[in-house]
Symmetry: C2
């Protein structure tokens, strides 16, 4: 950590370059995995970190299945697109990043500021779907960063058959798959060349 | 940064506790803002960091408007919900986090591994909308973390009228608003009490 002190009363902690490298600048999406197990304690810690990130009205809709058993991987297999099959079967862990469409039932507990928060969503299908998808996805990104912060690599994927995953893992529930993410210690030899990014002016403007 | 060396050949950098506090554990969504400007260089740097986070096929659909002029704020005003109005008008910067529904036109450049990537989306409205929303939202989360890493505070919001924002800022384009985010140096006196989070077992399971 570095401290930047542009004014006396406004010293602000900031992340050092090496930490930014770990999380963003040098982190890569991995396709191949070392034969090295992922400690369950790290997965638990990553969830405890990611859940602290902000969501709208603290809706916190993300739900996760960490698939790591042979039997669990076989249930995933028919849902995987050909390009994602081999690496996913080989990954120590594949997380199903999902969201619960009934997240609003928990709002009396999760958002005590607003006793009527449940009524903002109950019966409003479009608002439910959009809120679950947006906030479940924000939380999925927090999880990616949290895993990297703990020294793990990940490989998120959206190339899979959601209906098959939902039927295999979430039948009879209001939970729906969002994306998949392989987790482990990546094999640098199997990285693709890094793809280019847009320039600042193509992304952002000032108004 | 700390190094954890559980095995000789597998030393992995990890984030230290203070950095996790800055990004997640002690970071808060802010509602009040100090009278302290946000250097443009920090906004530019945050974009350069956030754009390195992973998106599906490097689609990178996020687009941003950093609203900081009086005139820009006035264009935003009619779109804001009552609960978000005052704090947004007072924030040094309000980012419109948006996505471009024509992101796929850039894929020949952004995803050179797959020369046919454009055809995965062109003309496929549902795939376009879902991919833009999911990946634009992942990038929005990366931006939140990047801003915090640079010592800034933020206050993301989804309580606003998207149609008004789209008409005021994105008329005649394929860009659509996703969420708003106030950016500045937060006033700790205006924080709400932190809302509770779900327990691990309510979020995640193993399979």
């Amino acid at each position: 950590m570095e401290k930047s002190a542009t004014t006396a009363n406004a010293a602000r902690k900031t992340l050092e370059e090496e930490a930014l490298d770990l999380l963003f600048m040098k982190a890569r999406t991995h396709n191949g995995w070392q034969d090295r197990p992922v400690p369950e304690a790290l997965l638990r810690r990553a969830v405890e970190i990611a859940k602290m990130g902000p969501t709208s009205a603290n809706t916190s809709p993300m739900r996760l299945v960490f698939v790591r058993s042979k039997e669990g991987k076989e249930r995933l297999r028919p849902a995987l697109s050909p390009g994602n099959l081999e690496k996913t079967m080989a990954a120590p862990v594949t997380a199903i990043v999902a969201y619960d469409l009934e997240f609003y039932e928990l709002l009396p507990r999760l958002f005590p500021h607003a006793p009527d928060a449940r009524s903002w969503f109950a019966g409003k299908e479009a608002a439910i779907a959009e809120t679950a998808f947006r906030n479940g996805t924000l939380q999925g990104a927090y999880l990616i960063i949290a895993l990297r912060a703990l020294g793990l690599d990940c490989g998120p994927m959206s190339g899979f058959d959601k209906a098959i995953v939902d039927a295999a893992f979430f039948a009879g529930t209001t939970v729906r798959a969002n994306f998949l993410m392989n987790i482990g210690y990546g094999d640098p030899a199997k990285l693709f060349a890094r793809s280019p990014r847009l320039d600042f002016t193509e992304i952002a403007q000032f108004a």
